[in-house]
Amino acid sequence: MTAAGASGRGAGRRRHRPSSAWGLGLLGLAGLMAAVELAPRAGLVQRRYLPPFSTMVSSLADQAGTGAFWRALLDTLRGWATGLAIALAAGVVLGIAIGGVPLLRAALASTIEFLRPIPSVALIPLAVLLYGTGARSTLLLVVYASFWQVLVQVLYGVRDVDPVARETARSYRFRTLTRVRTVIWPTALPYVMTGFRLGAAVALILEITGELVIGSPGLGERIAVAQTSGAVDAMYALVIVVGLIGVAVNLLARATERRVLRWHPSVRREAVA
């Protein structure tokens, strides 16, 4: 099975030195911090526009003491989670429904291929007209962008079902729901998880973009406020927070994927090797 993204190829070979990979990753991060700390101090860039890293961190510490920061963080995480959950539910249900009916699939293929590439950001004017500048406008963008990631993966997953298994299920006259549960779902699950992982990252990007451009509540809006206030330190501090959320979202998505698919050959192989 060629489960996209769920493969653990080469993991066995690298398994004996995960600590060095972590070490190298941290070293790279430390190098970046040092560069951002030293460049403004050495006068390579103006401190007015790029303050040293330590200044950003101290501004972050200041903000962490305020309720507004945590409210914004919560707004961002809530918007992200809600949008992703809707996209995931809608993507899985519609993906299985469309993928399961060849005629429907053929009829909708061109429509999907037309709607999918529309960048969510291009829908901002529409979102503002429909929902004003509130959180729902951003939610629309998040759902739209991550929905396609999930839907397309689920469609692939449904197509990947072993024809022999499918025919066997039909011969035994499985009911539709039983067939979905025992034949389609186990095959599609790795694809769903890939869609989840891709969707999680895209949802975060759109959540921040929406807040930044539309001004709906969240960290993106705080970044924009810091920018219009000329508070450069505070702005970079928030950018760092958004970066950290991105890392956390990615780790969370990978951990979820490993856990949900622990029965799957691609993940089991990794553990056995």
Partner: protein, 316 residues
């Protein structure tokens, strides 16, 4: 496969809860909720101050301030009824009006201080720039935050007043936060900025060459609070109450500039040092009709609109 069923149920629940939330503002009873969309800048300090002082609550209003990142998002939100009131400069309102958008001003927003060199907005150049007067801006690259709007028309007015020719000034669109850096790098020759960037720029050694709002008209009213014709005619009581609370807020802010500086910390990230040094706009009690007419005339003169619209229908 109970896991599958549980996952499906959880997804369904999430979907339901997500659809169900967000309609709480429509519930009746209690004080009337009003939504006001503003840009989080110095100009709207009276609103935050008025909310703190309880002027809106006194009118039986529950004020909900919705921040937007630009005026472009505010006008559609007001027209579609997503928010009841918005904040915008008059040139934008005149342009919207001439395009047939049904808008109605309900109260003044802010005005120029009327003192050259001591206004809240102006044109900055680098310390060593050969540009000395607005007249010297002819043929130069000048950054404004929005093209074909209040800032380029007033800079042109400033140049005309100094006896220069504004026809070949090359205006470039830049966001206020990016202007000082662009000026520094020499990407533009001059920038039209407002607070807090005016004070920040002056502190960094930039030089003020024009107070474009002062040069345009005495006591130029710059921005105002507006609503849609629909809200104005269907909720006259709400408009009246908002207008009254707004008047009180503006009066209070004008009388207590220190409180106005302090409230900036509540909704912006302007540092206390800059907040105590920056020049506050004037918060007048009424809209100065003459200056709105001046802005309409400038918009027509600069080709933003073909004919000067009837500003009487726009103003309260």
């Amino acid at each position: 496969m109970t896991r599958f069923r549980a996952a499906l149920a959880a997804a369904g629940l999430l979907l339901l809860s997500a659809c169900g939330s967000g309609n709480d503002s429509d519930s009746g009873g209690g004080p009337a909720t009003l939504k006001l969309s503003v840009i989080p800048i110095v100009d709207v300090a009276p609103i935050y101050l008025g909310q703190q002082q309880g002027f809106f609550a006194e009118q039986g209003l529950k004020l909900q301030i919705v921040t937007a990142q630009g005026g472009a998002a505010i006008v559609p939100a007001v027209v579609s009824g997503q928010v009841d009131f918005g904040f915008s400069n008059y040139t934008s309102l005149i342009l919207a009006r001439s395009k047939g958008l049904p808008l109605k001003v309900v109260g003044p927003g802010n005005a120029s201080t009327g003192q050259a060199g001591k206004d809240f907005g102006g044109v900055l150049v680098k310390a060593g720039s050969p540009i000395r007067t607005p007249k010297d801006l002819a043929g130069k690259r000048v950054a404004v935050n929005t093209l074909n709007n209040i800032n380029d028309t007033t800079v042109r007015a400033s140049i005309r007043k100094a006896g220069g020719d504004p026809a070949n000034v090359r205006f470039t669109e830049l966001a206020f936060p990016d202007m000082l850096a662009a000026l520094d790098k020499g990407n533009v020759d001059a920038v039209q900025v407002v607070e807090p960037f005016l004070t920040t720029g002056l502190k960094a050694g930039d030089r003020l060459v024009a107070s474009n709002y002062v040069d345009t008209a005495p006591n130029l009213t710059i921005a105002g609070y507006f609503t849609s014709q629909k809200t104005a005619s269907s909720k006259p009581e709400l408009v009246k109450k908002f207008s009254a609370a707004l008047q009180e807020s503006l009066r209070y802010a004008a009388a207590h500039p220190d409180a106005a500086r302090k409230v900036l910390a509540a909704y912006t990230k302007i540092s206390p040092a800059v907040a105590s040094a920056l020049i506050l706009p004037k918060w007048p009690a009424s809209v100065d009709r003459a200056s709105v007419d001046t802005l309409a005339r400038l918009a027509q003169q600069d080709g933003l609109i073909k004919t000067v619209p009837d500003t009487g229908g726009l103003l309260p």
